[in-house]
């Protein structure tokens, strides 16, 4: 690819001399490039085409232009799924950034046993979303699940919600599971970043009479802001494409109350039991929406984040 580009640019005389240094890197990269084209670029291009077609997976597809996208506008379930996705993303971005950051600061305050705490908090991170989803589905069971049993035992039986089975409580429940599972992951990232903050900065702030909270806000946060920004972007991308844990716990139910873009497109393409594939073009159009959303939102976040970074440095 690179070689052919060069061939047009240089005269034949010096061709072999010019090309020689390119041979080694081309050979090193070619296998990976081929793999990426076959298993990523080609399917992605195919997805863009597919989103402009009507296809049941069996008979040849028919070109329908942008009508899949136009149909999305009239699809109330699509907008519910979009709303749930936004709800999940905003909540997890806030909770999964603020909580790990605060707890990492507590662990970094010079207390003993911080390694033990980190190891323990990290345990749920290595568990698959499938297993944690199935586990929490049992814990959240409204009638005899452990969470409601616990609530009844401490006299909060009247409060005991339906959790995953309730239309109003299903999204918060799913978010709780996500926070539970990822806390250790982001916490360890923040802890590593906080360890890198020079001690002198805290000492200087302390001399100026800054209390712990203000040292956190005016020293820790601005210093590790690039890491915070990465965590926000990661959380956003993961939120927009959320699928596994919701599919395992509720399959988007009850009655689409926890349907996200990810689960809705899966329902359309593969059905609840993974058998029927009727409207593959339409499902793919939703996949493209997920892709565009994650690209646009993360670019905006990085842009705004960089500016906030500059501002905070000026304040300092």
């Amino acid at each position: 690819m690179v070689a052919s580009h060069m061939a047009t640019a240089v005269r034949p005389k010096s061709l072999s001399l010019r090309l020689r240094p390119l041979i080694a890197p081309a050979l090193f990269i070619a296998p990976a490039a081929l793999a990426l084209i076959l298993t990523m670029a080609a399917p992605m291009a195919d997805a863009v085409l597919l989103s402009l077609e009507r296809w049941d997976g069996m008979t040849p597809p028919t070109w329908v232009g942008f009508s899949n996208y136009l149909n999305l506008i009239h699809d109330a379930t699509f907008f519910r799924a979009l709303w749930h996705t936004a709800y999940f993303t905003v909540c997890t971005v806030i909770l999964q950034t603020v909580l790990p950051l605060l707890i990492a600061s507590l662990l970094n305050s010079g207390i003993r046993g911080s390694t033990a705490f980190r190891t323990l908090y990290f345990m749920p991170v290595i568990i698959s979303l499938t297993i944690s989803g199935l586990l929490w589905a049992m814990l959240f069971e409204p009638n005899f699940g452990a969470v409601n049993s616990l609530l009844r035992a401490i006299g909060l039986g009247d409060f005991a919600p339906l959790w995953l089975a309730g239309v109003d409580t299903v999204m918060p429940s799913v978010i709780i599971v996500s926070v539970w599972q990822s806390l250790g992951f982001y916490l360890v990232i923040f802890f590593a970043a906080l360890q890198g903050v020079p001690k002198e900065l805290y000492e200087a702030a302390e001399l100026d009479g800054a209390k712990a909270w203000s040292r956190f806000l005016h020293v820790s946060v601005p210093t590790i802001w690039p890491v915070i920004l990465i965590v926000i972007v990661l959380n956003t991308i993961n939120g927009i494409k959320v699928f596994d844990q919701i599919w395992v716990m509720t399959a988007g139910g009850p009655d689409y109350a926890s349907a996200t873009l990810g689960t809705y497109l899966y329902t359309i393409a593969f059905g609840a039991m993974g058998a029927s594939n009727s409207r593959l073009g339409y499902a793919t159009a939703i996949a493209i929406v997920i892709l565009l959303l994650s690209i646009v939102v993360s670019i905006i976040q990085i842009r705004l984040g960089r500016r906030a970074d500059l501002d905070s440095q000026i304040e300092m």
């Binding site: 690179v2 240094p21 080694a24 890197p25 090193f28 990269i29 296998p31 990976a32 490039a33 990426l36 298993t39 990523m40 399917p43 992605m44 195919d46 997805a47 597919l50 997976g57 707890i103 507590l106 305050s109 207390i111 980190r118 323990l120 908090y121 345990m123 749920p124 991170v125 290595i126 568990i127 698959s128 499938t130 199935l134 586990l135 049992m138 814990l139 049993s149 539970w180 992951f185 360890v188 990232i189 712990a212 965590v231 990661l234 991308i237 927009i240 494409k241 699928f243 596994d244 599919w247 395992v248 990810g262 497109l265 899966y266 393409a269 993974g274 793919t284 996949a287 997920i290 892709l291």
Partner: protein
């Protein structure tokens, strides 16, 4: 007051007598209370799962702790859920994916770090851009692609479907690693008569082992735990990976929580064992992956 302080901090006991330190000790205690509470919340579901797995089925909803530890659920589920087959399937898919990703990504990452050539930045960002693609976007085309190759419902096909995303991420990680190695090593090897391939193979590859270990850990965990592709691209029960097999078992076992919990634990054991052995590398590898990604 003094009794309380002793509980708060043994080390700080002498210091705590001074009034200024009382506030400090109080803060420390508060911090520990918060951290321990979170530890309980994080550990509770896992402890509940372990306790439930050794209960007798009539004890599940009535008692907090079982009268006696009952291991029978494990052999029962081991054979009923056909775990030997599913564990072997997952092991095959994970090994094949990891081997392909490391073999493809390492030389490419080396080239991006150590060579200057026209189009390098563009090519590199094309690879990185692939990391942004959500798996949902390529799921349906991948389904059709594998079907056309007769690799649908095949564990090899499933492994292939993971390669693209894995390679992109691994190149990103490994490139940073190769950049951290000194360039002089290669220069002096070239003076000694090594060609490009020999420099890579004999000089840099041995030094890149820690970077490769990070890739192996991240990719193994990701592949072993992956659900959407494995649940969609594999249809026959005997070829299911652990994750989708466990998911399928839910319908079958319903509220037989002792069986389900034992099943989840069996599915978890391989990952937990590796985690306990390689704890440090696991945590640093995963977080390094996130920060660079």
């Amino acid at each position: 007051m003094i009794g309380g302080q002793r509980v708060l901090s043994m080390r700080g006991f002498r210091k705590a007598i001074a009034p200024a330190n009382w506030a400090l000790t109080f803060t420390r205690t508060l911090i520990y209370v918060i951290l321990v509470t979170i530890a309980i919340v994080e550990a509770f579901p896992l402890l509940w799962m372990i306790i439930t797995s050794v209960k007798d089925s009539h004890e599940v909803f009535n008692t907090v702790l079982p009268a006696e530890i009952n291991w029978r659920n494990f052999p029962r589920v081991w054979f009923a859920m056909n775990f030997p087959v599913h564990l072997e399937n997952s092991l095959y898919v994970t090994s094949l994916t990891v081997a392909l990703v490391v073999a493809l990504a390492t030389p490419a990452a080396y080239a991006f770090a150590r060579y200057r050539f026209p189009g390098r930045e563009v090519a590199f960002y094309a690879f990185i851009g692939a990391m942004m693609i959500p798996p949902q976007a390529i799921l349906i085309p991948m389904f059709q692609f594998l079907r056309s190759l007769h690799l649908l419902n095949s564990l090899t096909g499933l492994a292939l479907s993971y390669v693209g995303g894995g390679v992109a991420f691994a190149i990103f990680l490994m490139r940073t690693f190769f950049l951290s190695l000194p360039g002089e090593l290669g220069d002096s090897a070239r003076i000694d008569g090594c060609n490009d391939f020999q420099v890579f193979w004999h000089i840099y590859l041995p030094l890149a082992r820690p970077g490769m270990a990070t890739v192996v850990i991240i990719q193994s965990l990701y592949t072993w735990n992956e659900f959407m592709f494995s649940n969609t691209l594999i249809t026959s029960p005997g070829k299911k990976t652990v994750q989708s097999a466990v998911f399928q078992a839910v319908g079958q076992y319903g509220t037989d929580y002792t069986a389900l919990c034992s099943g989840l634990i069996i599915a978890l054991v391989p990952v937990v064992l590796v985690y306990l052995v390689l704890q440090r590398q696991f945590i640093s590898g995963l977080t390094a992956g996130a920060l660079k990604g």
